[in-house]
Symmetry: C2
Subunit: 497 residues, 2 copies
């Protein structure tokens, strides 16, 4: 049998529903037909620039219409987008461009200097979207179909362990992710999804894929601004927002005693275990939250709490999406209910592997099953509870301590705005937990308050042995807590009062 193909997604969408809105930005509203026209123009320029099928193209931009065009344009050329995180240092960018063997680096105009610098250091031609406009739009042959198993994007994992690895995601991975989510959450013609997560992150990118596959408007925000997101939900028809915990918390605070409009469907919550106190806060304000579990390697969510169980199973990340499977393993065997082990997943949205990492791939992906390195358990009904990232595990005197658990407890203290927990080396116990706390504005919290609270809620060995008050926590581009960076702070005594 020949390889599976599909009509080019943007072409097909623009053909099927040309007048539907594709993108809403601060400045303009574009239909799929308009987006297609602009994208084909860009693809044509890229073609005259010399970009070939299967070449890797580094894309370095924040969310914008041009960034969206760029992503779709790659599909017309059969080229692969290496989506660079705009928060990285030059050194990190150079590593990724080199590691993924990019043929070109293309990015937004405001990053012109950085683009040049990376280009120079990697000996790779680089140009900005503005410079690209200097190239002709020549009649060029574009691919009318996409090959489902071909790679579409490469996204580097945040790299909290070892050096970053490029996760290859095929058209098929993105397709199944979008379709599987639709089977769980449903699709209605009123849906409008807000993307405040960057498009170089799978959480944002997956919204773009849903847009073209569902025929759904995406509200594109360049950065997460509580006021703008709140306004988009209240006044602009947004029905769904992808968020991480800290964003959700901010939005709920902004909501105050108001209520979202009836057409609001919910918050898709990803990016790590959510504190229960936050979920209760959302429930109190009648804000539906769909907890999810996923990662770059699974093209975003692979486990999601279905609306049916949003309240009954609060704190759970849910069950696998329809075509996916989930197993919890300890010493190579499936665990029983409530027993913590490694989260292992399988499904058509799971990456075929990391670019040029045959050994890691062999270790990580076996017969379609991806070893996530994350820890969790299933309850008696098969619902997943994510306990922690394995690499963050604190082992103290032989006892396992999961930072997220302690963070969950401490963040239920009203005066605590954010909290991060890491292990600190300890002569006696091997390692002990320590906590970094951001206190809510205008409130006063002492170490004594915390000590008293902990005594009640945490077993002795789980209680942080040191408390640091800080004015922010280190987070990555998607607001995910960087515990590794906390560990650095600890070593360097930086940011610490």
């Amino acid at each position: 049998m020949s390889e599976q193909t599909m009509p080019n997604w943007l072409d097909q969408r623009a053909f099927l529903t040309p007048e539907r809105v594709a993108l809403v930005t601060e400045d303009e509203i574009l239909t799929f037909s308009e987006l297609q026209k602009r994208t084909k123009e860009m693809a044509s320029r890229l073609s005259s620039l010399g970009i070939q099928k299967d070449e890797h193209i580094a894309v370095y931009a924040k969310s914008s219409v041009e960034m969206v065009q760029m992503i779709h344009a790659l599909s017309y050329l059969g080229a692969v987008g290496v989506m660079l995180n705009t928060r990285l240092t030059i050194e990190e960018l150079v590593f990724q461009v080199t590691d993924s063997s990019c043929a070109y680096i293309i990015g937004e105009d405001s990053f012109k200097d950085t683009l040049k610098e990376i280009g120079k250091q990697t000996e790779t031609p680089s140009l900005s979207f503005e410079e690209l406009k200097g190239y002709q739009t020549v009649p060029s042959s574009m691919f009318e179909e996409v090959i489902m198993d071909a790679p579409y994007t490469i996204l580097y994992t945040s790299g909290t362990t070892g050096s970053p690895k490029g996760v290859m995601l095929s058209y098929s991975n993105h397709w199944w992710s979008a379709v599987s989510s639709a089977l769980n959450l449903g699709i209605t013609e009123k849906d409008q999804w807000l993307a405040a997560l960057p498009l170089f992150h799978v959480g944002g990118l997956s919204i773009l894929m849903k847009s073209v596959i569902y025929g759904m408007p995406v509200h594109l925000h360049t950065s997460f601004d509580i006021e703008a997101v709140h306004d988009a939900i209240m006044n602009k028809g947004v029905t769904t927002v992808s968020v991480v915990s800290v964003m959700l918390d901010g939005l709920l605070d902004r909501l105050g005693s108001e209520r979202y409009p009836a057409n609001f469907r919910g918050m898709l919550l990803g990016g790590g275990p959510a504190p229960e106190v936050l979920l209760h806060k959302a429930a109190e304000k009648s804000v539906p939250v769909f907890q999810t579990y996923g990662m770059t390697e699974t093209a975003s969510q692979i486990v999601t709490l279905s609306p049916d169980y949003a309240l009954d199973k609060i704190g759970s990340a849910g069950k696998p999406l329809f075509p996916a499977q989930l197993s919890i393993e300890l010493d190579g065997k499936p665990t029983s209910a409530h027993e913590i082990g490694e989260i292992v997943v399988k499904g058509p949205m799971v990456t075929a592997g990391y670019y040029r990492r045959p050994e890691t791939n062999e270790d990580t992906i076996q017969q379609g099953w991806l070893r996530t390195g994350d820890l969790g358990f299933k309850d008696e009904d098969g619902f997943l509870y994510v306990v922690d990232r394995r690499k963050d595990l604190i082992i103290s005197g032989g006892e396992n301590i999961y930072p997220a658990e302690i963070e969950g407890v401490l963040s239920s203290l009203e005066k605590v705005k954010e909290v991060g927990v890491v292990g600190k080396e300890d002569e006696k116990w091997g390692s002990v937990p320590v906590a970094f706390i951001v206190v809510r504005e205008g409130m006063a919290l002492t170490r004594e308050d915390i000590a008293a609270f902990q005594k009640e809620h945490l077993a002795s060995y789980k209680q942080p042995k040191e408390i640091y008050f800080v004015n922010h926590l280190p987070r990555n581009a998607t607001n995910k807590l960087l515990r590794r960076e906390l560990a650095n702070w600890l070593k360097q005594r930086r940011n610490v009062q």
Copy 2:
């Protein structure tokens, strides 16, 4: 890469949403969990009967819970269901069972004698659902995953030309059909689909697949009963009904001046070109109709009129579903807009071929494109208008005449209930159209009335040269007009006044 698999659909559905309603029949309401339990029991008995992976099992039953169990049970065993049309003659049944090399024939209790007879004539073990219960439920190994490219069902095409051919549909074909429909029509948690089309026909079977893939209740009716369907829409939460024209017409008459509840989403209309007058009638009563085009070979609809265009493009079957493609070809080349040619389609829901018909397959399916043998055209926006089945084409004095066009015109006569047109051999013109007409009850219509009407609405050569008043039209199990049978009537002067 290994072959693509998915968790067994019923298992996964029962795991994800055990308490959701799967089936509603006259007698009972079953959740997915209950359906799973019963199905596994049946699968276990089938296993102890000796049914093996990849074996073909003829299924001979009308719509019932047991029929549904049977279809899902096959998936646990990796066996292939040959879905027999219960309206066939023994001779036709024997042909299909033999042609598809069935290892067993299993069917409903009321067909016990026929089952025995077919079994005898084909030397194939046969038994009824009741007899199956005599077999033990032994602990047997069932497949936990389905192989997407493996065949799941074989359905014989109605065989209006030549001898019937078994259309092989894989899990993948059924999956993509369900998912593609969802991307077009949307999915909401309120959806409840009514299946009055038989499950041995792809129109009914595809609803069952949607049920388990979406997690959606199906109201299962053993036959089409206007009163029961009307009641299910008005009082039982049914949101969608799959119909053919004659069913829709009856339902609209029954609706009278009433209105369907607000949660009613629409009628999925298949089974051939629909008369415009019927579509207008539906529009007047605010009944949304989704016109579709599809066939057994495409696992049901492959082209559907999106809700966005339901009124603007009345009479059109719409555009291809997202993963599908459509071409109109004449003499091997794509036609221009409004030019009639053969309808050719491509997509992941298209069958890999007919069972043991290598030559037909080679002729019919080329590089994924299926030559349907149907005639149609696209308008300037790419919307499909199905003109007719090629085999029904009447060529009269060198002019092409499409029966469906004439039927559409005549059925706009208020007193006409149904009309069927075929060609009749003619010494002078080669062939001329003749019409069979069912007059609405309590109304009087004369040949003179019709002649006067025709004169106004049809070019001279298109006007039926003979009119036969009949009290019914020959239709197959899914109410599709059998023009071949009309031609027989003509030859034998049967049923003709």
